[in-house]
Symmetry: C2
Subunit: 248 residues, 2 copies
């Protein structure tokens, strides 16, 4: 992917707040080329306020008077649209379309078109596209806010770009190494001995106690430091029990 | 997934516009339970304006005075946060966290916490969570707008729910069946004969012309109606050529 090759094109946006929201959504996901075709009000204070630290994207936005100018030199044009159209067109959801955009942008100039807040892209505009892209909203309320739609598409582009680079396991960024099986066995022996000392566990009728404790600590995966802490507690417990017995 | 079991909890949101944006983002993705912990300003006109047709989500929002009340009965609590924390915690990106939420919500009560616009969730709040969730923003501008973050997480929940139900091929919703190989062979024969008639193709020195045309139409996959249209054109072309020859 080459983010310089990706233009986000807003066709006749009405609300300057949305333009600002779009600028921020883009920069959050690493995109910077914003194109505005006949915006109703731009520049505007509200756009700047909503853009927050993406003010540079707003300041560098190109304002054009026709869609033709925006896409003339583009080799792959994606139009976002609601799902159903009278004449079917090649269509994919935002995830697959985002992947296509990444792929094409490596070598080609790409534009992604977003339509008017109230009526989207018209049929003439949609016919200029190589691919239509839809976001699978819920049937109770299909209409996404413009900046939200841009956010989701830009997010999918970024997710494709990061594919395989993001950690999968929920504890992949741990500060300590996780305990080995051997360390866990020593811990369980230590634990069992302590519970016997405490007369909490009767070796002649152990029931499922150790099984349940094993299951608990296996599920959580202890790290080295946690094992040391727990074994410190066990050691101290055994010392107190032994002391008690000596005193009797 | 059971959407009734999923609460979106905003902790001390400052801007009523964001609360409205969140309500809309949720309803767009099929979620309805909004919980507000100590909102600075609510109800508010700006929230209603931004919620648009998700006004019902806003009206049914529960306003609480502490996070405890919001999560007391929850069995799985997710906290959204920036990626790096002093004490590592189980953490997954929005896609994987969304999948976990779907899975747990089938049987359990789930809350997803979103923090303050300026400072997020604090460490005490993050320690109440089973899982931390991050959205992989670009390093140039990490800070997502609150409603945008909710939009992405809700979108990922919906994508998990729809997994396998969305069409993959870009032309899976076509109104006409695609042409069979046999139909395409008849078409290519017809095309070739027409090009010979036109003396555009020399059968003694055909070069790569037909190969190139085959590659073009294979790439695009013609449907039945398109084949009929093209063959209509070929037929008419041949008729005109034949008429010309007769008149000579």
């Amino acid at each position: 992917m080459k983010s310089d090759n990706i233009d986000i094109v807003l066709v006749e946006p009405s609300h300057p707040g949305n333009i600002g929201g779009v600028a921020r959504a883009m920069k959050n996901m690493g995109l910077k080329n914003l194109v505005l075709v006949k915006p109703r009000e731009f520049p505007a204070k509200e756009a700047e306020w909503r853009a927050a630290s993406a003010i540079d994207v707003l300041q560098n936005a190109r304002v054009l008077s026709s869609l033709d100018e925006a896409i003339a030199d583009k080799q792959f044009v994606v139009g976002t649209s609601a799902r159903e159209r009278r004449i079917p067109w090649p269509v994919q959801d935002a995830r697959l379309a985002g992947a296509r955009v990444c792929e094409h942008s490596a070598f080609e100039k790409v534009a992604i078109l977003f339509g008017r807040e109230d009526s989207g892209l018209n049929n003439d505009e949609l016919r200029r596209c190589n691919l239509h892209c839809y976001i699978p909203t819920h049937e109770d309320y299909e209409s996404l806010n413009l900046a939200m739609a841009v956010q989701i598409v830009c997010y999918e582009i970024r997710m494709t770009q990061l594919d395989g680079q993001l950690p999968q396991a929920q504890d992949s960024h741990w500060e300590n190494p996780f305990a080995t099986s051997q360390e866990m066995e020593y811990f369980f022996e230590h634990l069992e001995a302590t519970l016997v000392d405490l007369e909490f566990l009767d070796p002649r009728a152990p029931r499922q106690l150790m099984t349940r404790l094993r299951r608990l600590y296996s599920r959580v995966r202890l790290d080295d430091m946690e094992v040391n802490i727990l074994r410190g507690v066990l050691k101290e417990t055994r010392r107190v029990v032994a002391e008690n017995k000596t005193q009797k």
